[in-house]
């Protein structure tokens, strides 16, 4: 099957064209050997042929500045690569066309059959830009057409041209635009002979990048390096000479081929005067964030209620329909409640993705990167880390996936490691239940709700811990890789809803399927641990509970609850809780809290459900009820209250810091490619949680 590459600069609107051509028939994978995302999709051409369309990362040239750009070079300079294209669709933004011709002419000089798709033909008309496509086509010796990723205009013509390119005989002698100088000629001639490369420009690229091309053997690398040394080949200088020469060659042609209105202050410039203002920009940013989080929490609460009700109803119905037994229990208490635990977060994640994708699509996120770059650098992060830290307020998983835009590995790693310290939405139920034990619901200064302030305090604690850990990691991790801000800000644009929709669909389903598998397995295991124990002890627990219930004259429901709570103590989970009790004693926790800590290692929100089971409350719906039950809990030996202010504060601090989320660990493993970093992260956040809780407990008790 033929492969067609979609290439172009960042912000050329490549993804819109890709979405127009493939719709939802997309596959997301990685390019071989790197964590750069590769999107591909099947495309049916007018002549009936089916081809694979591969969306390459946006790049400015074949002299790469980032991991993303490097992929373009690695594939296009290696005809044996599985992704090596048979034809290239080059997408260029018609509003700044001259800057897009560098990479285009480089690809052309590699001898690849190309079609140039001038994107945003619709905005060009509005902005009074007229392009002489005939003249460009003659200069470039390739077809040039107007398309629009926004409206889908001319996609059929584009497909015709792809068919045409694939049908025609490969022209060997298409004149290259760039004529290398005598010294480059000597070098590339020898490289051509050494490696048997036919295309001269490919040989030149190999000379430039030999040491970093993954497909060369180490012998080939050293031979090419030797040739370059003998010829006095100065890569940096020659790159500059080549780039200058290319611009000199195509700029005059473009000036003749394009009619533009005189430049004036655009709407983007006027928006940026406010949105990137040296004083107001940070204030506006925090305002925007406030609105985003308000919207997320308030919009998501309705669908979340429906989902919880739906799963509750499904469990009830199954229980009523199926015969009682371990299988029914596993289905309803293990699998269904585990699934519910995943699905209930889908609305929040989808809404957050909607809002963050919108901010990205219109071009605001790149402004935030610019605004905070300086501050982020102090903590070993990059301006681009802002995006992850913001998203982390909802869920660390999509936040960690968003760090792929950070090209410096150290900065990206630190961002990944500290993002889970930002309080995510799963901590909210835990905070809500426990905060009442530490802070009474009174007013401070007649204005503020004391509990609300404490809530904010917990969030601040997370942010401070994230920045503090980042600072420490900056000192510990070594890197010689240069770090960059250097970036082009795209003009503000109305969002393309099709792109927004596809992004939300992709990322949300990635969360449900990827993280979902882990949560599902974990919740089934935890259900097993909490439901089963050494059978003699389980029997004894049941008998004793029934006896106590009879003495107290309890009704059927209350008896069931009491039995459940005696059984959990005798279960494997109960034994685990007792086993770790000595370790968590200094933090003010008993074995019951121990079980909750263990179960909430799968996911934090399990805490409330576990507490509900242990303190034998049938339903966790009413947080007032569970709060009352916890308030009445006493230590059977000393008679002291379990949930004192000290214990509760200690527990709150624990939940702020500890990495109790298997899905996060799984995602960090995927993004860093090794188990080392999720383990390091789990360790340092665990230590932070343990000592933080210890200090809180010792101070308050």
């Amino acid at each position: 099957m033929n492969t067609v590459a979609l290439a172009g600069n960042p912000n050329s609107g490549k993804s819109s064209i890709f979405n127009q051509l493939t719709g939802l028939r997309q596959k997301v994978a990685n390019f071989p050997g790197v964590t750069v995302e590769k999107k591909s999709g099947k495309l049916q051409l007018p002549d009936g042929e089916e081809v694979v369309l591969v969306d390459f990362p946006g790049a400015y040239s074949l002299y790469p500045n980032s991991e993303d750009e490097r992929v373009v070079l690695n594939v296009l300079a290696n005809p044996n690569s599985e992704n090596f294209p048979d034809a290239v669709v080059y997408v260029a933004d018609v509003t700044g066309l001259d800057k897009h011709f560098l990479l285009l002419t480089q690809i052309k000089d590699l001898g690849l059959p190309c079609v140039l798709a001038l994107n945003m033909a619709d905005t060009a008309e509005q902005e009074g830009i007229v392009v002489d496509t005939q003249r460009l086509s003659e200069f470039l010796q390739m077809p040039v057409i107007n398309v629009s990723g926004r409206t889908g205009a001319n996609m059929d013509i584009l497909k015709e041209h792809i068919s045409e390119l694939l049908r025609q005989e490969r022209k060997k002698s298409a004149d290259p635009l760039y004529q290398p100088g005598p010294m480059e000629e000597n070098t590339l001639g020898q490289v051509q002979q050494l490696l048997g490369i036919e295309n001269p420009y490919r040989a030149l690229l190999v000379a430039h990048h030999a040491l970093k091309l993954p497909y060369l053997t180490s012998k080939e690398k050293s031979d090419v390096t030797h040739i370059c040394e003998m010829e006095g080949f100065n890569g940096l200088r020659l790159q500059i000479v080549e780039t200058m020469r290319r611009f000199e060659l195509f700029t005059p042609v473009l000036q003749k081929a394009i009619v533009k209105k005189a430049e004036k202050t655009t709407l983007s410039d006027r928006l940026d005067a406010v949105l990137t203002h040296p004083t107001y920009a940070p204030i506006i940013f925090f305002g925007v964030m406030f609105v985003v989080f308000q919207a997320m929490f308030s919009w998501a609460s309705y669908p979340m209620d429906w989902i919880e009700m739906g799963f509750g109803w499904a469990a009830e119905t199954l229980k009523a329909q199926l015969p009682a037994g371990w299988f029914t229990d596993l289905l309803t208490e293990g699998i269904l409640s585990g699934l519910g635990g995943i699905v209930v977060f889908v609305p929040q994640i989808a809404i957050l993705f909607l809002l963050v994708t919108l901010l990205e699509e219109v071009g605001y996120m790149s402004r935030a990167v610019f605004i905070f770059d300086k501050i982020m650098q102090q903590f070993g992060l990059n301006g681009r880390s802002v995006v992850a830290l913001v998203s982390g307020g909802a869920c660390a998983i999509p936040a960690i996936m968003s760090t792929r835009t950070i090209s410096n590995w150290k900065e990206r790693l630190i961002t990944i490691l500290v993002t889970p310290l930002i309080s995510c939405s799963a901590r909210i139920p835990v905070y809500t239940v426990l905060i009442g034990f530490v802070v009474p619901p009174k007013r401070v200064l007649g204005l503020f709700n004391a509990q609300g302030l404490a809530f904010m305090g917990l969030y601040m604690m997370g942010i401070v811990a994230a920045l503090g850990s980042a600072w420490v990691l900056k000192k510990l991790l070594k890197s010689s890789e240069p770090s960059w801000l250097m970036m082009q800000l795209p003009p503000y644009r109305l969002p393309v809803w099709r792109n927004v929709g596809i992004t939300i669909w992709e990322k949300t389903s990635a969360f449900v399927l990827g993280a979902g598998k882990v949560i599902l397995v974990a919740s089934v295991i935890l259900w097993g641990l909490a439901s089963y124990g050494p059978s003699a002890k389980m029997e004894a627990a049941k008998t004793e509970a029934t006896l106590v219930a009879q003495q107290k004259n309890l009704d059927e429901t209350a008896t069931g609850n009491l039995v459940a709570s005696y059984e959990i103590e005798a279960s494997f989970a109960g034994h685990l809780g007792k086993f770790i009790e000595p370790v968590i004693r200094p933090l003010g926790f008993d074995w019951k809290i121990g079980i909750a800590l263990i179960t909430s290692f799968a996911a934090r929100e399990v805490f409330v459900a576990t507490m509900a089971t242990i303190y034998s409350i049938g339903s966790t719906d009413d947080e007032g009820t569970i709060h009352n039950r916890l308030a009445q809990a006493h230590n059977p030996e000393t008679g002291e209250k379990v949930y004192t202010a000290a214990t509760s504060a200690s527990l709150l601090v624990f939940y702020v810091f500890a990495l109790q989320c298997m899905s996060t660990l799984a995602v960090v493993r995927r993004e860093t490619g090794t188990w080392k970093w999720p383990l390091v992260q789990f360790g340092f956040m665990g230590l932070l949680a343990y000592f933080g809780s210890w200090i809180a407990f010792q101070l308050l008790s």
Binding site: Y60, S61, Y63, N65, G96, D98, K99, L102, L236, R237, Q239, I240, T243, M244, F247, E263, S268, D269, D272, A273, T276, H277, P278, T279, A281, P282, F370, I371, F372, D373, K374, I375, P482, W484, L485, M486, M487, Q488, L489, P490, P491
Partner: protein, 77 residues
Amino acid sequence: MANSVIQLKVGNGGRITHFTDDYIAGKLMNMGVLPGSRLRVVRIAPFNGGYYLKVDGMTIVLRNDEASNIMTTVDGD
């Protein structure tokens, strides 16, 4: 006389004459920031964090140490 971009006042501009570092030059030229391009300092980032520049109609943002490598003429000199 060529000046470094960081010596320009906000609102001022000129034409790029050359770059003082080949590595940064390569990166900037990839984006189309070339000797001969028109450059104007539009504003300074919050917290003195960098430069917001217009180069041939494109918006480019740079850290201070990145911007210091760009030498330009100064309009009006």
